[in-house]
Symmetry: C2
Subunit: 110 residues, 2 copies
């Protein structure tokens, strides 16, 4: 695995679904970059045994954790504890770019 | 714990040592913001059972992982696997601001 990656190079949404690019993964964690285009969303879901953090790199959006909705922009970090339903949506007009950390990895690489 | 934090508000180095501000922590991970002032460094060290990732928010610096030194700037992410010696230094002139993620937490909160 290359130990140096450039998250700033991950720009541009996919037309069909949220773009997810993995930077690093082990059994202990993964770090992805998501690009959520205007009108796209990650449907609320739950990980029973893993904690997630979203960190906004650019754009704006809404992160839901449990019953709460948080409007976010660059620099905001949102903690989604194991067992809490969470999701993210982008009402536009810019792409929403996020770092997504999860620990431990819910589907560990071999 | 407040699930929404603002990493962009963590600006300004300490005069005496690397500034470390925790955003979130559980037994599974921690996420800190470090502000490394010009001339400051985190001395190379090892975590035997935890993986670390540095992500540069602003500034420039050098991250060492094992025998390699990586010059980094905003958007760069560096993976420091468990067992690999790693550290970071800032030759200046700007503050180097980093997200520092580690999993699992080496000293879990109670």
């Amino acid at each position: 695995m290359d130990v140096l990656k450039d998250a700033s190079a991950v720009v541009g949404a996919r037309p069909d679904k949220v773009r997810k690019e993995n930077l690093f993964e082990t059994a202990r964690f993964f770090l992805d970059v998501y690009v959520v285009g205007p009108g796209q969303a990650q449907t609320p879901h739950v990980h029973d045994g893993s904690d997630k953090v979203y960190v906004v790199l650019s754009g704006r959006g809404t992160v839901r954790v449990g019953a709460a909705a948080h409007d976010v922009r660059a620099g905001h970090a949102v903690f989604c504890p194991a067992g809490a339903e969470h999701g993210v949506e982008n009402a536009g007009p810019e792409d929403l770019r996020l770092l997504v950390y999860m620990a431990p990895h819910p589907k560990p690489p071999r």
